[in-house]
Amino acid sequence: MTRSRHTLPLALIGICVFGATAAVLLGIEWFPERASREATGIDNLFWFLTWSCAVIFTIVTTALVYSIWRFRAQPGDDSDGAPIHGHTGLEIVWTVIPVLLLIVVMVWAWIVLEDTEKTTADRLVVPTVAQQFAWTFQYPEIGAQSGDLRVPLGRQVELELRAPDTDVIHSFFVPEFRVKKDVVPGIVTRVWFTPTKVGTYPVVCTELCGVGHNAMRSRVVVMPQAEYDQWLRTTRAKLAA
């Protein structure tokens, strides 16, 4: 009925809003470096969510801005607006479309989740102990332990996370790997990742664990297989000496 009058200004505002949103989304480096196999799936899902949300945000903001501009009462105008009580068609539309979108998100998320937690037979298992306020990574095959986590490139790693009974909850987080898991006294939790890039990345404790929480940092060093083997050998030799 009044479509013709509203369409053009709505479209213009919409383009502006979406343009600004897209500029923010594209112009900023949102994620830290991607350094694990798992990160890819998570990032893709993230960006699907983000662009869907950008569209919804654009629709809402456009309608909001346009309404405020176009339907603002003139000074001295005491009349009422149009007595519209609802519109069943519209209500169905804005219920069903989000439902469909969310079904896609949920299925996708489920697939990504399964994928990130798929284990391989040759994975490197590293028993890990977190306590106030330090990380200890253990290498039982050489009888060594380290404050830094050293892992070979391209091989799946499983951390067996433990905290002493007398300690508190911590959380293992490597932003570059997009993985996180709480370390809980009394139970063993596990986290899996497959490093895909050589480098040194921060290990961050993300569960409030007391006075030293902000300083409870460590590093994960990803090295090529050869270098890793070399490190194992020298460490073993050092321990033997």
């Binding site: 809402v60 309404s67 339907f71 989000p98 809980v184 939790t189 961050v204 006075v211 300083a215």
Partner: protein
């Protein structure tokens, strides 16, 4: 500032405020009781520790925990929250309609226990905005520490204390009770009620908040609780006495919250004005009903979680001690089972406020009323099935994650329905950008962002990256600041004229909005990026690459402070000297705007009649309710002649309780009364006599009243009511005593009447009590042997047919000698039986009567009983005619006559 009573309105059960002691009395009492409570708690602990040989005798946490509880209870007793109940419990005579603590005449009345929901609403808001300052101060402390990397002035422990105190005080002493306060003021008005269902419980709820806040504050200042507002064990178990005070504070605030919620539920369920069906309830009422259900189901869980951690800390239990079989993750399940629904507790009432404001300032009906109402319920139900989305990485059963993700993400759908419906309301409206509307629109923009980031956090793989980072901090502030705080500000501005009777300053209001809006976006927008990059939450220090975003956040938070200062300045100056507010400055439709600003002491002089939707803007001729108020503000003028109120009562028709109720109603000068007496099995003549007595009393008091006796029961009486009956007043005996009260008669009558029904309960003895006053001739009848005969009754009935009478039958025994002898006892017993028979017979004949047995002779009886019963006339039965001279001498000015008791009955 004070609510006032219009001159024509008198308190129904007058207890003047002048009888109350001054405010200082209550506060002194509270001080003594608090101190005694604390000492009592300390002594009890010391005693038991000594008895059970606990070493060391001094164990700070135990003492502090118990003393905090007993001190709080002491304060509540001292300030007077329990006075009425205590009186009732110890059997003191209490007035069920005691309004002595109701309403405020001066500002001092806000400083004591008050049962008026409007006063309580304001008390709530003053308390919560005080704690907003406290929690805000903690926020600024932590933002200042975070302004630059490295340590500025607070070490890790102090900093953790800041975040914990900021969060718990904001949540439990600002957001949740702020909504309770707004709804306390507005909700009873909106549904056309005179108050909340349980006014004394309501007062108790608000007075529990200051102790709760003070416990948190003491804890935060002396030995900070620093395990976050979530207080996860085992970290929480490492805390000191601050943590113990935290645990007790949560109990106190939680109990307050539960009591308020129960009160709202009962109020909404039972006290809506006639005609207010659920589909005519304003959406704020829907929102509060749903929220209250969440509170009632959810809050016991956080109470439980804090009790368990407290027991672990002070009693050595092992709920969360993994070394001794405890389960650390269990705490998180229990905690979030409340604390996720709490998110909706903190935002659903805000949705209700926004629905009211957007409709009013768009001057359009709310778009999709039922869809919004149903979406509220959907959110509440789903809200209980999503708690574990806070625990995706917490080490819980892995299979739980996907189901919890589904329910979490599905909540976006009803939330989206609301947002789109609000946009639909704006569309083609006549939008006015007053301050409440600015906050509502600011909310819409901000909340959409917060809602969308909520979907990220609900999606498991994405949440694994984002969990416990600053992205979560940004998200929760977008929904809690943009969602809850903006709606609270919107609501405060919107109802400020109604609460205070004055307008706020519009210019300052707009400044407040814009400064806060910009400050809010600047504070929290950059935190999304920091979180994505991996900056964890709750850290006192951070990687230098996050320096710029943190500085921006800190600057934004200072802007918020400036905005809040403007807000407080506006509120205080406008409250003191703002322009006088009209009844309905926004030309809104809901009921609270159809009464004066501020409303009178009992809100509505007469129950309003709801006739339509509360959002019928732009619909020609539509109205929400008929209120007896000036027409220019949308009420119905009262000059259309008196409408009938029907009074249905049989044996209780001439009781003081019922007649008082009628007289009170009659003071509204809007009604005529039709007394319909369904006689049932009683004699028609007896029913007529009772009716005549009641009518005489009412007419004497200037009440327009008429009456008739009908055959059959109360349902027949209802059927015989006039067409345009406004209300039915039903009087019965108490449930066990009344024939009518069987078979759910009251409910059936209510249904049959289809108009409001007031039920007056009269005890048997009250119904028989002789009425005094000029309209009814009260006779003191002296008869001894004749008392047992029908002759006396018949003679009195003959008299009653000429004029309304009530009777005291007294039997003077004329005992000479020992009054304790066996013979005297026997005579006395016989006389009592005769008098009782006479009273019963008179009652059956429709004459109110009571009996006395006096040891002395007739003259002594007259002398004793005239001061007690103040009869209009003394009547001597024939047998005592001989004592007439002596009796007349004793009676003084009261006439003494004799009555033949034989002829009349012959």
């Amino acid at each position: 500032m004070a609510t006032y009573a219009p001159a024509h309105h008198s308190l129904p059960h007058g207890h003047g405020h002048h009888e109350l002691p001054p405010v200082s009395h209550w506060w002194k009492r509270a001080g003594w009781w608090t101190a005694s409570g604390i000492i009592f708690g300390l002594v009890i602990v010391a005693f038991f520790r000594a008895v059970f040989e606990q070493t060391p005798l001094w164990e700070a946490k135990t003492y502090v925990g118990i003393a905090a509880i007993t001190g709080t209870i002491g304060f509540l007793i001292g300030i007077g929250c329990f006075d009425w109940w205590a009186g009732w419990m110890i059997g003191r005579k209490v007035d069920y309609h005691d309004h002595s603590l109701h309403g405020a005449r001066t500002w001092r009345d806000y400083l004591r226990v008050n049962t008026d929901h409007k006063v309580i609403g304001v008390q709530y808001l003053v308390v919560v905005f005080t704690f907003l300052c406290v929690a805000g101060a903690f926020a600024e402390l932590l933002r200042t520490e975070l302004a630059r990397p490295g340590q500025q002035f607070a070490d890790g422990e102090t900093f953790n204390g800041f975040t914990s105190a900021h969060a718990i005080i904001m949540i439990l002493l600002f957001v949740i009770p702020a909504f309770a306060g707004l709804a306390n003021f507005v909700l009873p008005l909106m549904i056309g009620a005179k108050d909340m269902a349980f006014p004394r419980l309501n007062a108790l709820s608000v007075w529990m908040l200051p102790p709760a806040g003070i416990l948190f504050l003491i804890g935060a200042l002396i030995e900070p609780f620093s395990s976050g507002w979530t207080a996860y064990p085992p970290l929480a178990l490492q805390g000191g006495i601050g943590q113990t005070l935290f645990q007790v504070g949560v109990q106190v605030a939680g109990a307050s919250s539960i009591m308020t919620a129960v009160n709202f539920l009962v109020t909404i369920a039972t006290m809506r004005a006639p005609g207010m069906t659920v589909w005519r309830m304003p959406l704020l009422v829907w929102a509060n009903a749903t929220t209250s259900a969440l509170v009632v189901f959810g809050t016991p869980f956080i109470a439980g979680s804090q009790f368990m951690t407290m027991f672990d800390a002070v009693m050595g239990t092992h709920f969360f001690d993994s070394a001794n079989g405890g389960d650390v993750v269990m705490y998180q399940h229990v905690f979030w089972f409340y604390s996720h629904p709490a998110v909706y507790i903190m935002v659903l009432p805000g949705f209700g406020i926004i629905s009211e404001i957007i409709s009013t300032f768009s001057r359009k009906p709310i778009f999709g009323y039922r869809a919004i109402a149903f979406s509220t319920i959907a959110i509440a139900i789903l809200g209980f099935s999503v708690w574990a989305h806070h625990m995706y990485v917490a080490g819980m059963a892995p299979w739980l994650r996907v189901p919890m993700m589904i329910t979490t993400v599905v909540i976006a759908v009803p939330t989206g329905v609301k947002v789109f419906s609000w946009l639909g309301t704006l569309w083609r409206g006549k939008i006015r950008l007053k301050t409440p509307m600015l906050f509502a629109l600011g909310f819409l923009f901000t909340f959409v962002l917060g809602g969308l980031t909520g979907v990220y956090l609900g999606t498991v793989p994405v949440d694994i990256h984002l969990s416990d980072t600053y992205f979560v901090v940004a998200h929760l502030h977008y929904v809690l600041f943009g969602g809850a705080a903006f709606t609270i500000f919107a609501g405060v501005y919107y109802w400020f004229p109604k609460m205070t009777g004055r307008m706020y300053n519009e210019t300052l209001g707009k400044w407040h909005f814009w400064i806060t809006f910009v400050g809010m976006q600047l504070t929290f927008m950059p935190q999304h990026w920091a979180g994505m990059q991996g900056m964890p939450r709750r850290v006192a220090d951070y990687d230098p690459r996050f320096a710029d975003v943190n500085l921006a956040s800190t600057i934004g938070s200072f802007l918020i402070v400036i905005g809040t200062v403007v807000f407080f300045y506006n509120m205080i100056t406008s409250w003191r000297s703002g322009e006088r507010a009209p009844w309905n400055p926004w030309r809104a439709k809901t009921l609270e705007w159809l009464v004066s600003s501020p409303p009178s002491i009992f809100n509505f002089d007469t129950a309003p009649q709801v006739v339509g939707s509360p959002y019928n803007y732009g619909v020609p001729g539509a109205r929400h309710a008929i209120v007896f108020a000036p027409e220019e503000i949308g009420g119905e003028s009262t000059e259309q002649g008196d409408r009938p109120i029907v009074v249905v009562a049989n044996e209780t028709v001439a009781s003081t309780a019922l007649l008082d109720e009628v007289r009170e109603r009659a003071q509204e000068r809007l009604w005529r009364f039709e007394l319909i007496v369904p006689r049932g099995a009683t004699e028609r003549s007896a029913a007529e006599r009772r009716l005549a007595t009641a009518l005489a009393v009412l007419r004497e008091a200037g009440v327009v009243a008429d009456g008739r006796v009908v055959d059959g029961g109360p349902l027949d009486a209802i059927a015989a009511r006039p067409e345009d009956t406004h209300e039915v007043i039903l009087a019965t005996y108490r449930p066990g005593e009344s024939q009518w009260m069987r078979h759910d008669m009251v409910d059936r009558l209510r249904k049959a009447a289809d108009v409001p029904l007031t039920h007056v309960v009269v005890t048997r003895s009250e119904a028989r009590e002789p009425l005094g006053g000029p309209a009814v001739t009260h006779l003191l009848v002296l008869a001894c042997d004749a008392a047992g005969t029908p002759g006396l009754t018949d003679a009195l009935v003959a008299r009653a047919d000429r004029e309304p009478i009530s009777v005291t039958v007294a039997c003077p025994l004329g005992l000479a000698g020992a009054t304790w002898s066996e013979e005297a006892g026997a005579r006395r017993a016989a006389a009592v039986a005769r008098v009782r028979a006479a009273v019963d017979r008179l009652h059956d004949a429709g004459i109110a009567a009571q009996g006395e047995v006096i040891d002395g002779d007739a003259a002594a009886a007259v002398a004793t009983l005239i001061p007690v019963h103040a009869p209009a006339e003394v009547v001597l039965a024939e047998e005592l005619a001989g004592s007439r001279g002596a009796a007349q001498a004793a009676a003084g000015e009261v006439a003494v006559t004799t009555l033949s008791t034989t002829t009349a009955g012959a």
